[in-house]
Amino acid sequence: MSSLAEHSPRKGQSLEKQVDTVRVFDQSFYWLAVIGAIGIGGVLLWIAVQIGLSALPAIQSYGVDFLTTTTWDPVRNIYGVLPQIYGTLISAAIALVIAIPVGIGVAVFLSENFLPNAVRTPIALAIELIAAVPSVVIGLWGIYVLIPFLRPFYNFLYENFGWIPLFSTPPRGNSLLTLGLVLSVMILPTIIAISRGSLIALPRDLRQGALALGATRWETILRVLIPAAFSGIVGSIMLALGRAMGETMVAAMLVGNSNQITPSLLAPGATIASLIASQFGEAGREQVAALLYAGLILMILTLIVNILAEIIIQKFQNVE
């Protein structure tokens, strides 16, 4: 109604397109957005191509064996990254095993009214601030605080459960387990913030509908609210997984950088990111190519994770 009145002075004008400042502004914003959107895709492509090209010498000389061999010998120029792939996946898996239940639990807790709002909001804020701590600081915290703190626990695991392959080596501070634990702390804010967001965004009617059917609070949360927010929760987990696999500084500081595959989580290991970070500085030409090849593999790994996430979400949304 009011818009008609506003435009009434224009009544006499024709219906043809008009060039005026609003239209120019409209158009320029459109093109700005288009360029931005294409540009971001372009940057990704550029990075991938550039890394691929730089890694080409290594790809040619090592081929698929690069993925399945365990030697990393810059002197003889023999390279294989199986231990690093293993370390990347295992440390990320440890992080997820801890962070998923804790993260979703905290997200539910902070999206329900268990606590008064005045307490809930600061807690949520504090959690999000963990994400703002620089990873090198978290790495230092890991070395100087967490490892000494965990040592008795590691010893206990080794002495009492050493017969389980997972705990079968004398504990060193720097290990896949330490890295996994620290990574879980680092990815928690991502899982909590996004999961909580998607839980809060659910319509109130949904909760009331479930309660009106005689559902208890937990039945409502577990069987209606969490499934309804499932795509957001999976999305948060996948983002977190991407971060855990690609995290560099913390990995280089805490994983021990040892080129080995052992079933023991208490033993030091390596991740692709830690390998690149710790070796890039002094690498020769062929070694740089091998490192970039490793980087390319990390990119592909995270890409696969994201595609899987997409498939899971799609499959679930068919029911939504």
Partner: protein, 276 residues
């Protein structure tokens, strides 16, 4: 199937013609410092359709939410007076609101199916209420038939409940409510978001459900009240000194009497469309 927090019917009903299944005695509701409803006393007789009408803010939705304790969800809500279901005070210390809601179901203004398949929308309530898995197919079909939706959805039970039209979604919500065989079905403006054809279907449905259930319906549509309700309660809102508004019950009688021969002047003005 349910543990008996609420006991079997009693004989204290003073209503000689029909047994009151729900009774509000001097019920007042406050949200914080705001009094939504003041001093309401009425009986809901068994197997009748009772309509609550009145202008916005008169507390009729508030009252209906007292009957299944859904007001509990809003922090700062206080319910005074007494609400009894089959003679048991549902705000009593020993009463579990979850059990109350299993006996007194509710259909909302906006259709709110779960983001699950049509089948699971109905099976969800049945499962948590302890119905056996082996009976589930039967329950789903029976409920959908009762809600006059079966013919439309029987070939796509696996599809999302959200893929249905608004009217179908509302009937799905009615189906999931009757699936757990409550005694009373509360309906909060169930047709206000629907088109006229869907509205008529829902109204026909209410007539059929009356056989087995007691229905309390809040409506803004007076024609709807005359079409579906046996009894009608008219609520009004009034401002007291200081400008605070509160809702109260003006008149409660057979629907015919309310619309044709109201005792109160306010009721007469409202049903003849002069305010509200």
């Amino acid at each position: 199937m349910n543990s008996d927090t609420i006991n079997t019917p009693n004989s204290t009903s003073s209503n000689t013609t029909q047994e009151a299944i729900l009774r509000a005695e001097n019920v007042s509701v406050t949200y914080g410092s705001f009094q939504a409803l003041r001093g309401v006393t009425l009986d809901i007789p068994k197997n009748q359709v009772v309509a609550f009408i009145g202008p916005s803010g008169c507390g009729k939705s508030t009252l209906i939410r007292c009957f299944n304790r859904l007001n509990d969800l809003i922090p700062g809500t206080k319910v005074g007076g007494k609400v009894t279901y089959q003679g048991v005070d549902i705000y009593g210390d020993k009463v579990d609101p979850v059990q109350v809601r299993r006996r007194i179901g509710m259909v909302f203004q906006k259709p709110n199916p779960f983001p699950k398949s049509i089948y699971d929308n109905i099976a969800f309530g049945a499962k948590i209420n302890g119905y056996k898995k082996s009976e589930m197919d039967e329950i789903v079909e029976r409920s959908l038939r009762q809600a006059a939706l079966w013919e439309e959805v029987k070939d796509k039970l696996k599809e999302s409940g959200l893929s249905l039209s608004g009217g179908q979604q509302q009937r799905l919500c009615i189906a999931r409510t009757v699936a757990i065989e409550p005694d009373v079905v509360l309906m909060d403006e169930p047709a206000s978001a629907l088109d006229p054809i869907s509205t008529r279907k829902v109204e026909e449905l209410i007539q059929e459900l009356k056989e087995n259930y007691t229905i309390v319906i809040v409506t803004h549509n007076m024609q709807q009240a005359t079409r579906v309700a046996d009894l009608t309660a008219f609520f009004n809102a009034e401002a007291e000194e200081g400008g605070k508004r509160f809702g109260y019950l003006v008149e409660y009688n057979k629907t015919e009497a309310i619309f044709n021969n109201p005792k109160e002047e306010y009721t007469r003005q409202y049903v003849s469309g002069r305010f509200g």
